[in-house]
């Protein structure tokens, strides 16, 4: 009955997504509604333009980097599974989950995976290390035209100096984790659902 109803999510798909991401049934249906409303082309996938149409995201200084996180290397369409997989990083960590050993793989919203999401925002070329150049580019995105190149350069140098323990001039993921070991990542990189 109607074109919207025919794109309803099947129960099996909802179960699969539940297992993979940990979202509840109602959260998945709600986010599916959101996915379809963003999908202006109505072809079951989102493109970068679909994301850029969200004004609050377009004015975010790191908007483009965040959009990029949804598109695995080289592709420019993301389907609902991929969409949920990326959003799952921001699911809050529940207490009973910390003890439960779900499967062999780590849950998408673990502390390490949340940190990895943030790491990838810095790591522009996805070579698993943040070079000085990459750090400078991301800093430039965050501050716009308000800070001079020299000042920004010294900020980048200081940051790398403090984090780089093996002296290769870049920040690896392990070094990244070490620098942020005291930060409350679980709370700051989580989005709470109302239902």
């Amino acid at each position: 009955m109607g074109s919207r109803a025919s794109t309803l999510l099947r129960e099996e798909e909802i179960e699969e997504i539940k297992k993979e991401t940990g979202f509840s049934h109602s959260q998945i249906t709600r986010l599916y509604s959101r996915f379809t409303s963003l999908d202006k082309g109505e072809n079951g996938t989102l493109s970068r333009e679909d994301f850029q149409r969200i004004p609050e995201l377009a004015i975010n200084p790191l908007g483009d980097r965040i959009i990029n996180a949804f598109f695995p290397d080289g592709e420019d369409q993301v389907n609902f599974r991929g969409f949920m997989r990326t959003l799952a990083h921001f699911r809050p960590v529940e207490d009973n989950e910390k003890n439960k050993n779900l499967s062999n793989t780590e849950p998408l919203n673990s502390r390490t995976n949340k940190l990895h999401f943030a790491f990838q925002l810095y790591d522009l070329d996805r070579d698993d290390k943040i070079s000085r150049d990459e750090l400078l580019q991301v800093l430039r995105m965050m501050v716009g035209v308000n800070i001079s190149d020299e000042q920004l350069g010294s900020i980048a140098d200081r940051t790398i100096q403090e984090a780089d323990t093996n002296g290769d001039g870049c920040i690896s993921f392990t070094e990244f984790i070490k620098v942020l070991e005291k930060v409350d990542v679980e709370q700051k990189m989580s989005i709470r659902f109302l239902h």
Binding site: L38, E56, I59, I66, L87, L121, V145, N146, I147, K188
Partner: protein, 457 residues
Amino acid sequence: MDLFFNPFDNLVCVLLGISFTVWFTMLLVFIIVPAIFGVSFGIRRLYMKTLLKIFEWATLRIERGAKEKNHPLYKPYSNAIIAKEPTSLEEEIKEIRRSGSNKDLGSTPEFEMSDIFYFARRGVESIMDDEVTKRFSAEELESWNLLTRSNNNFQYISLRLTVLWGLGVLIRYGFLLPLRVTLAFTGVGLLVFLTSVVGLLPNGRMKGFLSEKVHLMCYRICVRALTAIITYHDSENKPKNGGICVANHTSPIDVIILASDGCYAMVGQIHGGLMGVIQRSMVKACPHVWFERSEVKDRHLVAKRLSDHVQDKSKLPILIFPEGTCINNTSVMMFKKGSFEIGATVYPVAIKYDPRFGDAFWNSSKFGMVNYLLRMMSSWAIVCSVWYLPPMSREEGEDAVQFANRVKAAIARQGGLVDLLWDGGLKRAKVKDTFKEEQQKLYSKMLVGTQEDRSRS
């Protein structure tokens, strides 16, 4: 053979003749005559009450169906999906830094790698749920109203409901739609004809009086053509001559709804085609403010014509929709300041539609005008409430933008709508870079500000 068919043919003709006569008499008596005199038999309200009972029953059936199959029922998010904390950029980044601080409390760090968490989270929050994009598509209903177009996620529709839905389709498309289309043509036709006739009269009180009556009558017929059930509140605040009436915009029908209760001077661009014919004949009877396409861009010209109009106290109040585009009636978006700079008294009006009977929002990127009108005429009804708010004027020391925001807040409060600062033009246009630059500036202050402190000490 011939003898057998003739009386049968005659009978059919006679029956058809009688039914047509009955049909037209009923139309005249129950719809057109009350429209002329502005009275109502109350048929529409009775219809509305019946429909509500049917919807309640349908909701119960769907809920029961869901319980039987033991599946959670989909409840659309009428409020937000996620909890958004209203903290500022500065507060949050400071909090993140504080939680991970392994430096002494005296020195404030200038940049931390964890600062990115703020932007990441805000960005993903806006992907999950943002305030703006959902205003440009039809509002989701809490329970199904037996229209295919609003069946987004309502499964578990039993046989009885399907039968009811089928009956609904028959009634809406077989009976209501032809009736409404006939009325619409009558209303528009009469409007064009009668305003041209009145236009032939010399300017004076008689012309003004007749023009008022003609406009009101034709708009009332159009209201019945949509089966619009309107409740007007606080009619003592109705706009007077020399003022500007501003209202929130949901669809072109807003004009018909307001103009069937009072006389206004319309403002707008001259179109071609049927619209243009209607506009040109309307302006013969009383002065409306129509602009050519080229004149619309010239803001000074527009402002001058509007202020000339309001200064002439014999002319009707101007009707303007400052949002500039149709919004889905869950919120009020930025008011363009042009109409608030003129200096006339502003009469705010809040219009709130009840989406259960038919969604009045015109999604112009999805439907053209004709498609939209057909959808309107094949819904159950258009039910809305109109509140006339007390007049407002610009206060001392208030600029046009602040005044516009004050009026917008009053309208949002009365209509129960969300008051947003975002521009309705975001429906089509990209957001301006200045907003991103503001955020960048705020963040830069956090980094550089501490530098200044350092150089001082």
